[in-house]
Amino acid sequence: MTFEAVSYESIPHALISGIAISLLCSVVGLFLVLRKFSLFGDALAHSAFGGVAFGLFIGIYPLWIACAVAILSALGLTKIRQKFDISGDAIVAILLSTGLGAGVILVSLTEDFEFHDIEEFLFGSAIVDTQNVVTILALAGIILTILFFTYKKILYSTFSEEQAKASGIPVEKMSYLLITMAGVTVVISMQLVGVLLISALFVLPNVSAMLYARSFKQTVILSMLFAVSATVSGIIMSYQFEIAQAGCIVLVAAAIFIGSLVAKGSGLVKTAGILAK
């Protein structure tokens, strides 16, 4: 089968790592969405794909190479963006296409290459390896701890760069920190939803939460709740109906978003949000 469904044995691993990944994606993704950088996760994932292909090409475990490539290219482009005043969406496009282009070339150069080698990185896979789950939990724990101690500064830099700088907050450092955390998040999430569907976990739970929430705290809590619900139900659906796990997770997240839009549009939800007039 090209697209992998969750097997009975892998359910506990998939659920544990899936919950950790969805918590991480929703929080890191919220800052990207608020910075109007929604597709940045996608761009990071595509450049990470270049890293995966490079790893396969030189015969080193590709995820760590992917992590390094995604972070370094994103930091480099952010520096270029600041120096030459290039718009954020252009940077996303450059990162996305260059990463994919490099990846395709490297894949074509790799001897004895089989599509199955990159399939799990493109579309995600059921995580079965215990060590993999431990790594995901450890990295998620580290990033969430860093975010807990720095979120006010990152939020202030997101809200108003000028005011944050004038308050003595190291805005550029906060930006680099966020990009680094997003890079690591993307690489560990690639295993669950794959390169092509990653932005769904970054964007959908947050946009849905912003429809209901009246404060930043509420937005974070709701977004985490939506992301975890989508992941858990997606994994269960994948097992139940033997269909691709990543697609299930993304479609449940999209269904939550559409449901929220309907609730909002029909007046069932009266809180202010992105559709408020």
Binding site: L155, K165, S167, G168, R214
Partner: protein
């Protein structure tokens, strides 16, 4: 015309000496020197493009390429950025994303050292916004948002407020409220204020001192002296007109 502060018994908060800024060969500020003492309410007036925002950017460390020295509390700002914790900045008309999911209370808590909710409440009370503390910032009018930004500047109990044309585009009612708040902060709380404005009437009414800027500083002194000096006012309006013509 400069006021010589030497020998007078009061603390200098800001001391700027020979400040010059060049934008690709074009002078934005040329050899500016002045000081701000404790309790001063200094209105900076000057036409568009006179260098007011550039001056503020240098003072707040947002621009680091300049000649001359800027000292806050006796220390060169190139040596340390710690002074910023005692400076409150209110920017030109705030640009707030309507959908930014943060309440007024959360916006005030974003500053460093401001996890203390009592301080946040006190700051909001000073600008009469405490009843709206749990509203989303994007739901407020521009005038109300600007009051929130004063409160935000006040959270860390600053010694000086820096305001860059803060009432541009705000209705008269909110402008009057804003000016009343500034007056109270200066007289009751003893906070020094440096305030860039186009509004000569408001500056005459509120500021104790005036600095007239047009790339160079052509007046710095007591507000009453400036506004009672017809020659100086004529010179100011001529310069403003020249700059206006130059811009068009």
């Amino acid at each position: 015309m400069f006021i010589n502060n030497s020998g007078v018994d009061f603390t200098m908060i800001v001391d700027i000496q020979k400040l010059s800024v060049d934008y690709s060969g074009i002078k934005a500020l040329d050899d500016i020197s002045f000081g701000i003492a404790e309790g001063d309410f200094l209105g900076i007036i000057g036409p568009n493009g006179a260098g007011k925002s550039t001056l503020f950017h240098c003072m707040l460390g947002l621009r680091t390429q300049y000649d001359g020295t800027i000292k806050f509390f006796g220390q060169d700002i190139r040596d340390s950025r710690k002074y910023l914790s005692q400076v409150g900045f209110v920017p030109q008309k705030p640009v707030v994303d309507r959908n930014f999911p943060a309440t007024i209370r959360e916006v005030l808590s974003m500053s460093q050292n401001s996890s203390d909710s009592k301080k946040v409440d006190e700051a909001l009370q000073k600008v009469w916004m405490h009843e709206l503390a749990d509203r989303r910032i994007g739901d407020l009018s521009v005038g109300q948002q600007q009051r929130v930004f004063i409160a935000k500047a006040l959270v860390n109990s600053p010694k000086i407020l820096v305001l860059d044309e803060p009432v541009t585009g705000i209705d008269q009612y909110n402008q009057d409220l804003f000016f009343q708040i500034l007056g109270e902060l200066n007289t009751k709380e003893k906070i020094s204020i440096i305030w860039a404005s186009h509004d000569l009437d408001a500056v005459e009414r509120l500021a104790s001192k005036v600095a007239c800027l047009n790339k160079t500083l052509f007046f710095h002194g007591i507000s009453k002296e400036f506004f009672s000096d017809d020659e100086m006012l004529k010179k100011y309006s001529e310069t403003s007109m020249q700059m206006h013509m130059h811009h068009h």
